[in-house]
């Protein structure tokens, strides 16, 4: 099953490689990983999307907690949460496709952030499935390039991950 883990970690050199090293050494999967410092510059927050049985996820959580730099780990799946991912997608936009691309971007609430004679670059945020759906909805031949960040997640309502 897919899980989304939020990890608060000391903002220190090498901390990220300890986390990724743990996953590769123990044969766990990382589907996506995002990381940036928090409002407290001494601390970073990671969102790790992974999958595995309940036992595997329990081990991953325990092993992460064992790392000296890890301050706190929560599994966002355990309660309501919000996920967002950012995609930048460059599409061919010529002739009658040009209007069609603009319409598609509007429908998905994307924003065209770069325009050339032949292409649009569209910024799209949302849960991963929405971005997948957008890609699917396009004429595949029109897609020139995509880049996605992987999910960032946060608990809904009062649920807060903080020291």
């Amino acid at each position: 099953m897919r899980h989304i883990l939020s990890v608060l970690i000391e903002n220190e050199a090498g901390a990220l490689s300890r986390v990724t090293g743990l996953f590769s050494a123990r044969g766990y999967n990382i589907d996506s990983l995002t990381v940036q410092t928090t409002e407290d510059p001494t601390m970073s927050r990671m969102t790790i999307v992974t999958h595995g049985s309940e036992d595997v996820i329990e081990q991953i959580t325990k092993q992460l907690n064992k790392l000296i730099e890890v301050v706190k780990v929560i599994d966002l799946n355990e309660a309501d949460h919000i996920e967002r991912e950012l995609m930048l997608i460059k599409v061919r936009a010529t002739g009658k496709d040009r209007d069609e691309m603009k319409r598609m971007a509007d429908i998905f609430r994307g924003r065209i952030i770069d325009v050339t004679e032949k292409s649009y670059t569209i910024e799209l945020t949302g849960p991963g499935e929405k971005l997948d759906a957008f890609i699917k909805a396009l004429d595949q031949a029109a897609i020139l390039e995509t880049v996605r960040t992987g999910a960032s997640g946060i608990g809904r309502g009062e649920r807060i991950l903080k020291l």
């Binding site: 970690i9 000391e10 050199a13 090498g14 490689s17 300890r18 090293g21 050494a25 036992d55 329990e58 081990q59 325990k62 092993q63 907690n65 064992k66 000296i68 730099e69 890890v70 301050v71 020291l163």
Partner: protein, 586 residues
């Protein structure tokens, strides 16, 4: 006053009351060696290979309650240390390893003798540091010692670039450490401990399973009190030997792949298992599928939450320091006068004693060929069971575990987790330095000893009078045994057909060498060797080349599916009898 980074490092080690540093000099650590030369707070032990430095520091730590320290240079010095670090990591041994590094401006330039030590060692350390600023050095060392010794112990590496050892700063050693993200638990959850007590009260066939964590947590006294108070059968893992006295009648022997028949059967058919500092390792429980097939309740006490329920389902997990948890558990049991039902326990002991009768460690003695088991039994007698025993890895290691009865903790020193050949001799050096008045014996084989035999030279330099017991069978014995069991007796590269003359070799290094070929000479030779208090004696025992370790459990089989020694193979063995009068069962 400002002093150099190297001097700061030396002062830090003195502050930590370090007695010995095991190491090998090189370009990147010359500054540190110069600082060591100028002080007299601790001694440096010059090994002949960095791997040996780390093993020696490791055994120094295992055989005492102190912490081992090793010092190696950058590049090859650091990579040579990795096997030793991994060995300590797998067995959770507290240790600090200081490695030299090229100067900070050169890091990343593929400089001479540069290797990314933080990266190389990351998978095999509890934590590691690269010190980039001399101002951080003292605090880093303090943190390293704190992390290595608290919680689940383990090795910590400090990588120190050469320019940091040369730069100057004011020495200010922190009094205490606080790391916000590191707060290892100590006290077990009281509710969980109560649950464990309740399970013990309800148990019909209780079994206490004790691992290396009980030794690392200095909880042997509590383990012994608990077992005796309840009158419950007890087993130790390979790493746990000595946590409960091996000569005691409540002790049913080691369990696992080469455990006794009674220990493995008891583990398989117990209805309540109390696991103390033991992690249900694959060499212990074999196949989780077979293991969990019996109806049983498991209590697991461990300081590391990730060790709990990693391989088998656990009903009552207790995270905490084993010593503290056991004290709390014993207090509850005493207060409420909780004991397992005596009637059930008697039936359970009857069952276990039936399993004991065939004596799974019996072997056929021989007048012509020395049986390796016999050497171990005689060693136990000659040393009065008091020696500190280090071992290498292989058949000799298992024979030692089976036939030497370890009656106290920190007496048995072996590479259990990683299974490192070459561990024994440097470990014996480290243990002898930590325990200068003890008899220290290194049990090894003709394969293992040659992996770090150069340390005979170090033993000469530092007058460590260890007794080397080489069970020489001309084979990589355990490899040969597996080739017989699983590979149609095709002895692929397990025959060592160019063995040195070990007696001459020992003499070449300035030691005493002996070769023993007859069973009748075993005991006199051992007596003679152990009487030479000041000398290292290399005892080359030519043993039965065909001897195998029994019982044995093949991979994937259950604990009740042992390959038994020849004398038991045609015996009518008592099966597990569920209808014995245990009272209301399961």
């Amino acid at each position: 006053m400002e002093i150099s980074g190297a001097e700061i490092l030396a002062r830090c080690l003195a502050e930590e009351n370090v007695e010995f540093v095991f190491g090998y000099p090189g370009g990147a650590v010359l500054e540190i060696y110069d600082a060591i030369f100028k002080q007299n707070k601790f001694k440096h032990v010059l090994v002949r290979h960095e791997q040996a430095a780390v093993h020696a520091a490791d055994a120094y730590s295992r055989s005492s309650e102190k912490i081992g320290v090793a010092l190696v240079t950058s590049g090859p010095g650091a990579t040579n240390a990795i096997t030793g670090i991994a060995t300590a990591f797998m067995d959770s041994i507290p240790m600090v390893v200081i490695s030299g590094q090229v100067g900070t401006p050169m890091i990343g330039s593929d400089a001479f003798q540069e290797v990314d030590m933080v990266g190389c060692s990351r998978p095999v350390v509890k934590h590691n540091f690269l010190v980039k600023d001399v101002k951080d050095l003292a605090a880093t060392v303090k943190k390293a010692f704190h992390i290595a010794t608290t919680g689940r112990p383990g090795p910590v590496v400090i990588d120190v670039p050469k320019d940091v050892t040369q730069a100057k700063a004011v020495f200010d050693y922190p009094k205490s450490v606080s790391i916000r993200s590191y707060n290892p638990p100590v006290k077990g959850h009281p509710g969980q401990i109560k649950k464990a007590a309740t399970l013990l009260e309800q148990a019909k066939r209780p079994f206490i399973y004790v691992g290396g964590g009980a030794i690392l947590g200095n909880a042997a006294a509590e383990v012994t009190e608990l077992v005796r108070m309840l009158n419950v059968p007890c087993t130790n893992t390979l790493m746990g030997l000595g946590a409960y006295p091996g000569s005691d009648p409540l002790f049913v022997g080691m369990l696992g792949m080469h455990g006794t028949y009674e220990a493995n059967m008891a583990m398989q058919y117990a209805d309540t298992i109390i696991a103390i500092g033991a992690r249900f390792d694959d060499r212990v429980i074999s196949s989780p599928a077979h293991f969990a097939s019996q109806a049983k309740k498991i209590v697991q006490i461990d300081i590391d939450p990730s060790s709990i329920a990693k391989r088998v389902k656990v009903d009552v997990p207790i995270v905490g320091d084993v010593k503290d948890v056991l004290k709390d558990l014993i207090a509850i049991l005493k207060e409420a006068n909780i004991r397992p039902s005596e009637k059930a326990l008697n039936a359970w002991w009857d069952q276990i004693n039936d399993w004991r009768k065939p004596n799974s460690l019996w072997y056929a003695q021989d007048d012509e060929i020395i049986q390796p088991q016999f050497v171990m039994q005689k060693l136990f007698e000659v040393t009065g069971g008091n020696a500190i025993i280090t071992s290498d890895v292989g058949q000799h290691q298992m024979f030692t575990a089976q036939y030497y009865q370890f009656n106290r903790p920190r007496q048995w020193i072996n590479s259990g987790g990683l299974g490192t050949m070459g561990f024994g001799l440097p470990a014996a050096m480290g243990a002898q330095l930590a325990n200068p008045y003890a008899d220290v014996a290194c049990i090894t084989g003709d394969g293992s000893i040659q992996m770090n035999i150069q340390e005979l030279s170090t033993c000469k330099q530092y007058h460590t009078p260890v007794k080397i017991i080489n069970l020489n069978n001309g084979y990589l014995g355990m490899v040969r045994q597996w080739q017989e069991f699983f590979y149609g007796t095709r002895y692929s590269e397990s025959y060592v057909d160019a063995l040195p003359d070990f007696v001459k070799l020992a003499e070449a290094y300035g030691h005493v060498g002996m070769q023993i070929t007859k069973p009748a000479d075993v005991e006199p030779a051992l007596r003679e060797a152990f009487a030479m208090k000041e000398r290292l004696v290399f005892m080359d025992f030519l043993t039965n080349p065909k001897a195998n370790v029994f019982p044995m459990i093949q991979n994937g089989k259950g604990l009740n599916q042992m390959d038994l020694p020849p004398h038991m193979q045609n015996m009518q063995l008592t099966p597990f009898e569920n209808n014995r009068d245990y009272g209301n069962l399961c």
